[in-house]
Structure formats: C-alpha cells, structure tokens
C-alpha cells in the first residue's frame, strides 16, 4: 500500500491572500520550494511543516493529509 502526503497549502495561502513571494520572504524559503510543495512534488521537512502550521495558524491535519495512492 503506497501512501502519499497531500497538502492544502495553496488553498490556505490563497484564502489568506498571501502571494508566493511574500510567503517565501516570511518563511525564508525559495519560491520554487513553495511551488514544489503546493504541487505535491516535494514533502517539506518537519521543521518547515511546523513553520507552515505556525505561519498559517492552523493544525497539522488542516494542512497535511495522508492518502492512499
């Protein structure tokens, strides 16, 4: 059984009206990383995941879910 981490970062970011550049500046990551995470091509590290939770002020299961492929 293959599990895949899905995230709702793009949805939450757009709801809060934050641009990718703004988010990259605030979290000190590159815009390419945001793009890769939003398109489910890269799973962020635990450190970045915690930073994202704090940044958007949401819980972990509101951002990340584990789905079967």
């Amino acid at each position: 059984m293959l599990l895949k981490v899905r995230n709702r970062i793009k949805e939450i970011r757009l709801t809060k009206g934050i641009s990718q550049i703004q988010m990259a500046e605030d979290l000190q990551i590159t815009r390419q990383t945001i793009n890769a995470v939003e398109n489910h091509k890269y799973n962020p590290s635990l450190e970045l995941a915690l930073k994202l939770m704090k940044y958007f002020n949401v819980t972990i299961d509101e951002i990340f879910t584990l789905e079967e492929e």
Partner: protein, 132 residues
Amino acid sequence: MKKKWPIILAITVVCSMSIGFYLVKLLVPDLPVGTVTAGISGSVLGVGIAIGTAKFRESRKSHNVPDVDERTWINIKNFYAYSLYISLFGSMLLVCVLFALGVETIELGALSIYLLALFMLLVIGTLVVKRQ
C-alpha cells in the same frame, strides 16, 4: 559570513594558484612567462567576474527571498550522489574501453584535461540544480 565570502574565494584562488605554480615549477623549471601571466590574469579575471556577477545580482534583487533552502541542499546532495556513481562507473568504463583498444599508458596531461572537464561539468551541474 555573507560579506566575507568574496575574501574567502579570493584567498582560496590565490592559495590554489600558488600551489599550482609551485607544482608546475617542480615539473617544468623553465616555465614561459606568458603561461604564468595567462594563468594569473585568468584566475584574477575569473574571481572578478564571479564577484561582480554576484554583487550585480544582489543589487538588482528587490525582495528578501533566499537563493538556497532545505530543498536546494537535498537536490545538490542527490546530484552529487548520482554524479559520483556516474563519474566512477564512467571512468572505469573508459579505462576498460581504452584497455580493450590496446592503450596501455595514459599521459598525465590527458588525465588532467579529463579531470578538469569532469570538475567543470560538476560545477555547471551544481549551478543548474541550485536554480531548480
């Protein structure tokens, strides 16, 4: 640390240049002045271009987004892991092919050009991976 990197780069280049010239002097005692001048000016020009480009890019940058982050380091590490295997197996394959062709000795000059090309490819690859 960020402001000190041009100095570190310059010191590294000067040290490598000195070691290089010392070794060449040992191997070729009567080294032509033109070659030495070309070596020194090429190195200085290379460092100048690298520092100038970096400064120009920094001055044009309008936002505070970093150039590298955790994903970039992972990509670079993966690239080095793959390139290590490719270069090792590639070199072994090349040696086998040359041996099969009847070549029994390799000139140091040819070997140094091969290594130079390998390092250049690694540097170009790192720059490409860094931007992705």
